[in-house]
Symmetry: C2
Subunit: 204 residues, 2 copies
DNA sequence: GTCTATATTAAGATAGAC
DNA sequence: GTCTATCTTAATATAGAC
């Protein structure tokens, strides 16, 4: 491929999105300028507009890609019929994904209000679909008598809150590994849902 | 008091801070301009600078006042020596405060990264002090054998996540009243901590 | 205490050269 | 595909009149 105007080109597209993601996570969408993104990528500001029609679309693309990756990754997994196994699978999946995609998760949560109305609708629907995965697992387990839940909706949201919180304090070099955290959470949540016997295949 | 330049003045100070709080909560600090605040207050932009030296201080003042109100309100309460009573008191206090100060809570959580370095240190310390209230209650209850906790720090953070989440979905006109939510949470958390007997003085 | 006017800086986005 | 240069708009903050 021919170089254009003396600059390296074929890697720019992914670098634009990665840089924007990192800066949005650190400073917030509204506080980051296109000039700052360009500077960190190592191009002039005009070049960015080869990769996005505007700043808003840059944010939207980042959030949509993340949510679709998340949903597709879950759908692509083998699904157990046992509610407790399914729940533990979900916790492991959620934590693995979220502890390794901290910027994406943070931006997708924090920048909802900076989406245009039409973009917000799209992202909110994807987000809701993800919450429904957990909600359905809980409903199923509750109906089967495996989980003991007083108010299903409140319990779902409380669990989501618990799981979301992890992203705010986890550090790869911290006291607990992502595997240890997963185990603690799996036990904590099972206990929380009043599961009778904690006897389970280990390290599922 | 004499009116100045044909305008009403004595109410402006609180209105500036209330308006800024509302707009920061809705659109985010970086996305809100001083002009927009002035317009909503009903003054010209220059008038704002009678009440704050700059925009940053406006944000800092809002966050500091909120955190100090929160801590002072807790300190001013009678404190029980029974860990479970204390825990339920804290949950009730937390939810009552947070369900009625949604904007303050939201801004204090979302805008941390828009504080200047020196302002961040002050707010972070206040935030940490608040978390420590719950952490100490759990430690005490754990030592007394009333609560059954595997990892104290993770449990504290999980609980904080659960409690924080409430602010994102509670609506005064929603299905559950703030009183009902409080009861559900008190029971859920007690169960979560493995408290043996749910027999408690009601509506504490 | 508030106004109008303005200084200064920086933002998003585009045009046209290479 | 990227550059430089520029258009247009809007931001924070200040000065001085009333």
């Amino acid at each position: 491929m021919a170089r254009t105007y003396g600059s390296f080109s074929q890697n720019t597209a992914p670098r634009v999105f990665k840089t924007a993601l990192r800066l949005f996570a650190q400073y917030g969408y509204a506080a980051v300028s296109m000039r700052q993104i360009a500077s960190d990528v190592g191009v002039q500001v005009g070049a960015l507009y080869n990769y996005t029609p505007d700043k808003q679309t840059l944010l939207f693309t980042i959030m949509r890609d993340h949510m679709e990756n998340l949903l597709n990754a879950w759908e692509g997994r083998p699904q157990s019929n046992d509610p407790l196994v399914r729940l533990k699978d979900f916790i492991k999946f959620h934590l693995t994904f979220h502890l390794h995609k901290t910027d994406e998760v943070f931006v997708s949560y924090m920048e909802l209000r900076n989406l245009s109305e039409e973009n917000f609708v799209v992202i909110e629907k994807l987000r809701r679909n993800y919450e429904l995965i957990l909600e359905h697992i809980l409903e199923r387990g509750s109906n089967d008598g495996v989980f003991h839940i007083s108010d299903a909706r409140v319990t779902t949201l409380a669990l989501i809150g618990m799981l979301k919180e992890v992203g705010t304090w986890y550090r790869p070099e911290g006291r607990l590994s992502s595997k240890e955290i997963t185990n603690i959470y799996q036990d904590m949540v099972a206990h929380f849902l009043g599961v009778d016997s904690p006897v389970m295949p280990a390290n599922r």
